[in-house]
């Protein structure tokens, strides 16, 4: 193939993605430095970092940042530990394994708005929900999940969707583990935990780090679950950064402040992305 042809074939994807990245990105950065509120179009002009200051000193900012970190951290811990446990349990031949597999990974394909509604209404509703029925049957007071522990409820919903992701990845990598090595270890009298620490965990080190990094990117941006269930409340108890920026833009119509928040979110995501790209780059052999 001639060089020109190679360039012509590659150009569309590169140019389009470049535009898709650079146009909105530079607009966000630009908006974040000007006075721009859709409700007050007469106020404008360059104001430097005032939007950032406004965003950072907003009383909702610190709670939202903490909520974001708690959400990401808890979901990561739950999904990785559960994912490891379940994928090891299922990593052996038994009847109906295919069905168990399908049941385990299905939640990952449920759209987030549906999963949020199912948990909010049919499971967590304090009057008619299934959890309330269990609590009543045991003679306990039903928990008002979304009222009393909104962030924890969202952590449960997101974990339910993403543990299957961890299971799917770990299950696949476990299949490439050296079985003979494991059998030899068993014959030498190595117990389960010693095999887990010395063989399985090292084998899964890369998949685990990939699962953590990919989930971080997605969980920093959790939106639909909050939008559908708690709307960030009560107060700001379940507001994360994504939802806070959404509020700034869609309810306060403050483009400038929302953009400053957007820049902050981009920087946060990029810190994670650098590590992820490195990890992926190692496996891409060119």
């Amino acid at each position: 193939m001639s060089k020109t042809l190679v360039r012509m074939l590659q150009a569309p994807s590169i140019i389009l993605l470049f535009l898709w990245m650079i146009v909105p990105l530079s607009m966000t950065v630009y908006f974040s430095t000007i006075r721009y509120n859709l409700l007050y179009p007469e106020r404008d002009g360059f104001i430097g970092l005032d939007n950032y200051r406004f965003f950072w000193t907003d009383p909702s900012f610190v709670p939202a940042l903490i909520n974001t970190l708690v959400l990401v951290g808890s979901v990561l811990a739950i999904t990785v530990v559960l994912g490891l446990a379940v994928s090891i349990l299922i990593d052996r031949p038994f009847r109906g394994r295919g069905i168990a597999r399908v049941m385990l990974i299905s939640p990952f394909f449920i759209m987030p708005t549906v999963s949020a509604l199912v948990w909010k209404n049919m499971l967590m509703d304090p009057n008619n929900g299934l959890f309330a029925a269990f609590a009543n049957a045991l003679g306990m007071q039903p928990i008002e999940w979304l009222q009393d522990m909104p962030l924890f409820s969202i952590i449960i919903m997101v974990s339910w969707q993403w543990t299957p992701f961890a299971i799917l990845i770990f299950m696949t990598s476990l299949q490439s583990q050296d079985q003979e090595q494991k059998e030899a270890a068993t014959l030498d009298g190595a117990g389960f935990w010693s095999q887990f620490y010395n063989l399985t965990l090292p084998h899964l080190a890369r998949p685990i780090s990939i699962v953590i990094l990919i989930q971080m990117i997605f969980h920093l941006a959790v939106f639909a679950e909050i939008f559908v269930t708690t709307s960030g409340g009560p107060g700001v108890q379940s507001t994360n950064l994504t939802y806070l920026i959404y509020i700034q833009s869609q309810q306060a119509f403050d483009v400038g402040v929302a953009s400053a928040g957007g820049v902050f979110a981009i920087i946060l995501a990029n810190i994670v992305a650098i590590f992820l790209i490195r990890a992926v780059g190692k496996t891409l052999t060119v």
């Binding site: 193939m1 590659q10 993605l17 349990l89 998949p207 990939i210 979110a265």
Partner: protein
């Protein structure tokens, strides 16, 4: 107990726990499907009903009283349209990168991947205002474009990995016969990588179908997809659990089946090729 017996015992304990986990994880889906076949009264009955006479009234009512068909059609158009455009752009590019790998190929692919990590909320205002200026709020075209660009990096990367597995000799032989590049892609590369292309498409459709941020923010009625339609049931005053469940079941069923079909390729796609 002999060692063999012990191993057997451990195995059956592990299998029982695996089934417990599978049943627990699947339960909310099972409960949703079940609730879709209840009447509204049965759906909120206390204690919850496991056995009841199933009814199809929710499904008939969805068809007659809501615009379910239109939302489903919007979901199909945006997710299939976005995927089609992504493939259209990616196939020639990935083909030329795979067979003419240069010094920059890896960096280009990694850069493409990095655009995928831009958080949507970071570019919310520009996208929203640009759509508004062009009079394209609540338009399927915007969603198609967003879904195409959103999935393009992943599609590129997976296709690149698939194309590289095609032996170069096959292409060289056809070039000797004077085949044009277009025909080479159409007659040789695409048939050989057909499985890869199909599963890549499946992954892209799944991701677009379940996308909830842009569809909620950018659409109101005309272009709303199923994710946005389901989100509109969040209002606490309307407790239509049975109907919501029926809608949700319809909205999720095709994608869950797609997911089962594409399990293996999904791992590659979701980890950007890092786990195979």
């Amino acid at each position: 107990m002999t060692d063999k017996q012990r191993v057997k015992l451990y195995n059956s304990i592990a299998v029982s726990f695996a089934w417990v986990a599978a049943l627990l994880f699947f339960f909310p889906i099972f409960w949703m499907v079940l609730t879709g076949f209840k009447t509204e009264a049965q759906a909120i009955a206390i204690p919850p009903l496991l056995f009841f006479e199933p009814t199809l009234e929710n499904y008939t009512e969805i068809q007659s009283r809501t615009n379910y068909g239109q939302f489903a059609l919007n979901s199909i158009i945006t997710s299939f349209g976005g995927t089609f455009i992504a493939l259209l752009i990616a196939i020639p590019s990935a083909y030329s990168m795979a067979f003419n790998t240069g010094r920059w190929t890896k960096d280009i692919l990694m850069w493409m991947l990095s655009t995928k990590m831009l958080p949507a909320v970071g570019v919310l205002m520009p996208i929203y205002l640009l759509s508004q200026k062009m009079g394209m709020l609540d338009s399927k075209i915007v969603l198609v474009v967003i879904y195409a660009m959103m999935n393009l990096p992943i599609v590129m990367l997976i296709l690149f990995n698939y194309f590289r597995e095609i032996p170069k000799e096959i292409l060289e032989a056809s070039r000797m016969d004077g085949t044009s590049t277009f025909n080479e892609i159409k007659d040789i590369v695409m048939p050989l990588a057909w499985g890869g292309i199909a599963s890549t498409a499946l992954l892209s459709i799944i991701l677009s179908w379940n996308e909830a941020f842009w569809s909620i923010v950018l659409t109101t009625t005309e272009a709303s997809t199923l994710t946005a339609f389901v989100a509109s049931f969040q209002a606490p005053e309307g407790l239509f659990w049975a109907k919501v469940s029926a809608v949700s079941t319809l909205a999720c069923a095709p994608i869950v089946v797609f997911g089962w079909l594409a399990q293996k390729q999904l791992v590659q796609g979701l980890t950007f090729g890092a786990v195979k």
